[in-house]
Amino acid sequence: MPSDITDLKRAQTAQKLLMDELNHRVKNMLAVVQAISRQTKRAHADPESFYEALEQRLMALSAAHNLLTRTNWEGTTLSDLAKSLISTFGLDEKRLVLEGPSVALSPNAAISLCLAFHELATNAMKYGPWSGDRGTVTLTWQALPKMEPPQLVILWVERGGPKVNEPKKKGFGTQLLERTVGPEFGGAVDLDFAERGLTCRMELTLNDKIRLG
């Protein structure tokens, strides 16, 4: 076969593979949107508030997508993910204090944690330290490689906001954090609605989904 035809065939095969992958990614993302819509419906009887919450979650998903597109869907880092909150929520950098070692996240881990941080951030904007002009969130993480299994502990600590009341009903955010993110990463997520500010503590297992470096 003349080489230009061989090249054409090869290019067509590569394109078909690429289209298959794209299709797979789009269909999966639609299923994630379906999952988010259904979970959101549970907590919102009123269509206006349902829409507002759903839209915010779609924006979180889009933020995760942006981060992953930058690396060709190789994953992202915990610090890049946290920094994306600053632009999404239009924050002054001083109001989100970040500290921790370099942690790499797989694409699936990035999507789940991005949704989780967006829930916390939305809550901070509505009821927490970001609802006024002075409060801050300190987000720190620490690896405990000697634990069995090795762990990553993430702390989201809100200070300087209005007095906190524990919500009467567990919404999507709480469910996502406690029932999805905890089990997904072989760990636990604890939310403490203390009067002086919310603290969210995530204990996640370090493995190929979340790793140092």
């Binding site: 299709n23 299923a31 259904r38 993110v181």
Partner: protein, 122 residues
Amino acid sequence: MSMAVLIIEDEAMIARLVADFLEDLGHQVHGMAASVEEALAVLAPDKPKPDVAILDLNLGGEPADPVAHRLREVEIPFLIATGYGEDRLDRSGLHEPAIYKPYSQAALGRALADLNSRSPAA
């Protein structure tokens, strides 16, 4: 008939959705596995067996073939749930019934009923 269903799916939000679907359909969630390794651990010989399984073909970038193989070995009927198209499935050489993402609760209910009626154990 109510069945104990093992969900093998790497995307946590989707696994949660499928669990909700199953509960609404009157089935039980036997367990969830997000990787080939986790799935094989749940399907170890000393563990209680699910009635059926729902298997995502791609688990965190890894092909789910070893899990499909084990499910056949221990004779657990399963449904392939995938975001890939039909022609890709044909090429993968798997002959189990498939359901394509995203799918509705009703579609899952029908697929599980079909699976149950064709399974020799039923």
